[in-house]
């Protein structure tokens, strides 16, 4: 009995303990590390604006992965935008719409990376959409309020909403992908009928009418000429254009000028205006021919270049009519007719010591020495001359050396040279110079220098590369010109380029180069043996191989001698 009582008491006490004591209450342990929501979570929180888009995500099966870990950018259209969109595709509700159309639409609104508005430019976004077309960004001002516009279709209402798995930009309209190719778009626009006719006859119409499944080859940029631009140049009909250019009778031939004309207006790659002006030249489908691009004030101007001191006026692209996205690229409107120019190779006698930066210092240019120092490796004081950082920081100085009296420059062209220390272990390890534009063709390259030895044992043997091609001969900044007649010297790759006959002014022919493209070329001088400061570079000559290599010679006062 006693024992029973004891057991009952025990049971009661255990029961009481379990009921009364607080320790048994379930503690609410926070297992999440953040309360941030993901993209779908954000839409769920704001269903009053996004219920329809949320429904679309659900129906297309996208909701699950947008709620998981990742890094996405989502352009989320509001309900009013989706309503308009549904009306446009003729669907009464989300459920009634074609699922494939919806899937494509969603993919166009998703990027597999996080993109803040700070990376929006006047051109395409740096990352392609999941649909496979690029979106274009711009800014428009409506009634005094500026906002980002995506694909020229939707305005950003609320930007850079950061969520757990990416970024949301709220937009007011649904964007639709381009459905026509460049050819189809141009054909549909009667303003381009002559250009389209030329495209058809030359066979490019079909080439621009396909969407290549290989995305590295898919994108094409076309600079189309409208009928007015052609009419301004006297081509009022396709027949007139054909009469001018088509000499072989068959425009489909690659060597027919009409074919070349069209090819010259096509460039590989997806280049919106904002992208076009980021690069100075663009290669075209016409082999080895480039279009040069300049931004002059606000105009995008192509082929405005200076050759041998003559400025050739270029052609403007019409901003309002350009940036037309198609399924396989983009096309722009050129305000005037343009055609590739055939130039004869012309000699360039390049005075390397008359560069823009020294010309801006009238107290020094053709007056006194001036040192361009690079304090750090990242500095770049001279736009078109650069050098490999010398391990000893103080050697990273390019000196503009001028004097009409000193024996270093008294006979140099314009009395000035550029001097750069070079050579391992301490001094700069290469010297790179960007030339003015050189017309394509085959040239002999002459390096003209004032030989000097820093000390009697100094040596400075260099190799020269032009556009990365190693020249056949080396040259040496410490080596004087040998003696001999002009003909004898030329035979062994030397010449006297100054009026004065002193043999310290030497020109060394380092080799022959064929430029395949008319543009600015790159010369790089790399030391092979020795090291010293006094590397005095005066000029570099690029002379077409069939021209006189010895004359003209150059005087200190800047004039030329032709005989």
């Amino acid at each position: 009995m006693k024992r029973k009582l004891f057991i009952i008491a025990g049971i009661i006490s255990i029961y009481l303990a379990s009921v009364v004591t607080p320790g048994c209450k379930k503690i609410n342990i926070v297992e999440t590390t953040t309360t941030d929501v993901n993209i779908v979570g954000y839409l769920d929180k704001h269903l009053d604006s996004f219920s329809l888009f949320r429904q679309i995500l659900e129906r297309t099966g996208t909701a699950a992965f947008l709620n998981a870990y990742g890094a996405y950018t989502c352009f989320a259209p509001t309900n009013s935008g989706v309503t308009t969109y549904l009306k446009n595709i003729g669907a009464s509700s989300v459920d009634a719409a074609d699922i494939n159309v919806l899937k494509d639409m969603v993919r166009l609104h998703l990027l597999g990376d996080t993109l803040y508005t700070s990376s929006f430019t006047d051109g395409k976004m740096p990352v392609i959409t999941m649909y496979g077309q690029y979106l274009v960004t711009s800014v428009v001002n409506k009634a005094g309020i500026s906002s980002y516009q995506i694909n020229r279709q939707a305005t950003v209402l609320n930007s850079n909403v950061k969520v757990g798995n990416g970024i949301i930009h709220v937009i007011d309209n649904v964007m639709t992908p381009a459905t026509k190719t460049i050819s189809q778009q141009l054909e549909a626009n009667s303003n381009y009928s002559i250009f389209v006719q030329a495209m058809k006859e030359t066979g490019y119409f079909d080439k621009l009418n396909v969407v290549n499944s290989d995305t590295s080859k898919r994108w094409i940029t076309v600079l189309a000429e409208n009928n007015q631009a052609l009419a301004d140049s006297g081509f009022t009909s396709y027949a007139a254009l054909k009469a001018k250019y088509c000499k072989t009778g068959n425009p489909a031939l690659a060597n027919d000028s009409l074919n070349m004309y069209v090819a010259y207006h096509i460039s590989q790659g997806l280049k919106f205006l904002g992208d076009i002006i980021s690069t100075p030249t663009h290669e075209t489908w016409l082999p080895q021919e480039v279009i040069s691009v300049k931004l002059i004030d606000q105009d995008v101007v192509i082929n405005q270049d200076e050759f041998n001191g003559v400025l050739e006026i270029g052609v403007k692209l019409d901003r309002t009519k350009s940036d037309n996205a198609a399924t396989n690229g983009v096309w722009h409107d050129a305000r005037a007719h343009f055609m590739v120019k055939y130039r004869k190779p012309t000699a360039l006698y390049w005075d390397v010591s008359s560069f823009d930066e020294i010309k801006k210092l009238p107290a020094y240019y053709k007056k006194a020495n001036y040192d361009f120092k690079r304090a750090t490796e990242a500095d770049n004081p001279i736009k078109d001359q650069y050098w490999g950082w010398g391990p000893l920081a103080s050697t990273n100085t390019l000196s503009y050396v001028y004097s009409s009296a000193s024996s270093i420059t008294n006979y140099a062209y314009n009395n000035d040279v550029n001097m750069l220390p070079m050579g391992l272990p301490n001094r700069p390890i290469w010297w790179e110079l960007r030339t003015p534009p050189i017309v394509k063709g085959k040239y002999k390259v002459w390096v003209c220098y004032r030989a000097q030895k820093q000390s009697s044992s100094s040596n400075m043997l260099c190799q020269v590369e032009v556009n990365g091609t190693l020249m056949q001969r080396t040259m040496n900044f410490t080596e004087n010109r040998p003696s001999g007649t002009d003909a004898e010297l030329e035979a062994i790759g030397w010449k006297r380029y100054t009026e004065n006959t002193t043999n310290v002014f030497a020109a060394r022919q380092v080799g022959v180069i064929e430029f395949t493209t008319t543009k600015q070329q790159i010369v790089r001088i790399t030391p092979l043996n020795g090291t010293q400061n006094n590397n005095n570079l005066d000029m570099i000559h690029f002379i077409p191989i069939d021209q006189d290599q010895v004359l003209p010679r150059f005087r200190p006062d800047g004039t030329l001698i032709y005989q």
Partner: protein
């Protein structure tokens, strides 16, 4: 006998104990500082607080640049707000993403350059003086009403100046006019409208003008502390910003007619004689406190300015350089005659060869300051500014010829080159506006004025000349963002910076500026 000894000893012990330890054990006041209740007692303490206001404007930055806890120094912000959205500067090797965002017109509320903390810190110093200094009249009999008035004028003026920068940079800003003396007094406050802030600025300056001194008796104080002429000059600037031209002219005339200021002789050119004052740069910029200076932030050997590490061409951390085309576009160069140059160009404002912002970095026309010489003053106002402000107001009130005459005075002093001369008719208001703007760009290059100058002209008459801003941004924005940048500038809310994210988080009553939503 023994008891007596014991009693005596215990008395002694109590005495010793009472004298030393006990009291302080119960005392909660800090032993190494002074507390508010004991501070505002003497006039010397008032003076120390007023000087503290100036000192607070020279406070160094804290935290490392690039981190989120970085608080810039005041003059760094003065430079950035006044120059970096304009067209005279360019990015350098250590320019941060936040800096580039200013150039690209891509500013986000997280941009550290929008941190206004140094301004409100100085404002709180001013508020403290305005609130507590009058109490000293009771406790210090040697402190006179006139002295109090002088000190109050300094605090009121600096506060107005700080708000003037804030209202021009952010538009609507929270207006705090009482002192935050303890943590309990930190309360969230909403923004006040631009107009009400400007009204307060004018009211403060008007009040300060009645209380201010004409001179402190020494040059350094006259240039570094607030005088009645400082107040007139700031008022002129404020009125010009508010489009009140007649009031602006009145204030300018007060400074001009005082006869206390003049232009430092720069160039006397009458071809073939080219005579330049060799000490012009040294007098005006290197040493500072010249006859031309009206109000300067006087950095010294003891308190260096923040510019060496962000401008000097000899450090790898430099953040800003001059725009590459600055010499060609702004000052221009006479290629045919090297004796003929604008004294404000190469070797004064800029060192063209290294693109260095030379005004704060140059020791002479060609040699750099060393790190320990980096005490170039920050120039809030110079006499040339008063003249050109008057010119601007004259032009707006229909006296174009008066404006042109003043421009020519400024141009002659510096030998501005003929290629930069415009020849506007006296009635051609627009062209004269542009001429003044160009001349101000040359004269005050890198003095933190360019952006405000362009914005002031652009916003006049309900943004009648918005094109000035658009043209400027077309120059300075990178080519692939030019059109976007321009389109943004068409929204007038974009002309004001966003409120820094930290402020939004700590002051829940603040609403972000509309453009940045």
């Amino acid at each position: 006998m023994k008891t007596r000894l014991i009693i005596l000893t215990s008395f002694l012990i109590i005495l010793v104990a009472g004298l030393t330890g006990c009291k302080k054990w119960l005392d909660l006041k800090p032993q190494d500082g002074i507390i508010k209740e004991e501070f505002w007692k003497t006039k010397e303490q008032v003076q120390a607080s007023v000087i503290g206001i100036y000192s607070s404007m020279m406070e160094s930055s804290s935290g490392s640049y690039g981190s989120t806890t970085y608080v810039p120094s005041l003059s760094e912000q003065l430079f950035i707000w006044g120059e970096c959205r304009a067209d005279d500067i360019a990015a350098a090797t250590a320019t941060s993403a936040d800096d580039i965002a200013l150039i690209n017109v891509n500013i986000q509320p997280t941009n550290v350059n929008t941190n206004w903390r140094p301004f409100y810190r100085t404002i709180n110093f001013c508020n403290t003086v305005i609130e507590k200094a009058p109490e000293v009249l009771v406790t210090d009999n040697t402190f006179t009403q006139a002295q109090l008035d002088n000190y109050l004028s300094e605090a009121l003026t600096i506060r107005a100046l700080m708000y003037f920068y804030l209202v021009r940079t952010f538009g609507d800003v929270p207006m705090k006019l009482d002192a935050t003396l303890s943590d309990e007094k930190i309360t969230p406050i909403p923004k006040s409208s631009k107009d009400s802030v400007l009204m307060q600025i004018v009211a403060d300056l008007k009040l300060a003008e009645t209380k201010a001194v004409k001179t402190y008796g020494d040059v350094a104080s006259d240039k570094g502390r607030v005088t009645v002429y400082t107040i007139n000059t700031i008022l002129a600037d404020v009125y010009l910003w508010m489009d009140k031209y007649n009031e602006c002219i009145t204030e300018c005339n007060k400074v001009i007619n005082s006869g206390k200021f003049g232009l430092i002789r720069g160039a006397s050119v009458n071809p073939p004689i080219y005579d330049y004052n060799d000490s012009w740069f040294n007098t005006l910029y290197f040493n500072g406190n010249s006859n031309e200076g009206i109000f300067e932030l006087q950095y010294s050997l003891q308190r260096l300015n923040p510019f060496y590490s962000i401008f000097s061409s000899s450090v790898s951390s430099r953040r800003w350089v001059a725009a590459a085309d600055l010499m060609d576009r702004v000052f221009s160069v006479d290629y045919t005659n090297d004796k003929n140059y604008d004294i404000r160009g190469d070797g004064a404002s800029v060192r063209a060869a290294t693109q260095t912002i030379w005004k704060y970095m140059g020791a002479t026309a060609t040699s750099l300051r060393t790190a320990d010489q980096s005490y170039a003053h920050w120039f809030f106002y110079r006499y040339a500014d008063v003249l050109l402000m008057k010119a601007e107001a004259l032009n707006e009130t229909g006296n174009g010829q008066g404006a042109i005459d003043i421009i020519n005075t400024i141009r002659t002093r510096a030998n501005a080159l003929a290629s930069t001369a415009l020849t506007p008719a006296a009635t051609d208001k627009y062209l004269i506006q542009e001429y003044i703007l160009m001349e101000r760009e040359r004269e005050f290059c890198f003095e933190g004025k360019r952006w405000f100058d362009v914005l002031r002209n652009a916003k006049r008459n309900n943004y009648e000349r918005l094109s000035l801003l658009l043209n400027m941004v077309a120059q300075s924005a990178p080519s692939n963002m030019q059109q976007s940048a321009q389109a943004k500038m068409k929204d007038k809310n974009s002309h004001y910076l966003p409120i820094y994210i930290y402020e939004l988080q700590t002051n829940k009553l603040l609403v972000q500026n509309p453009f940045y939503k």
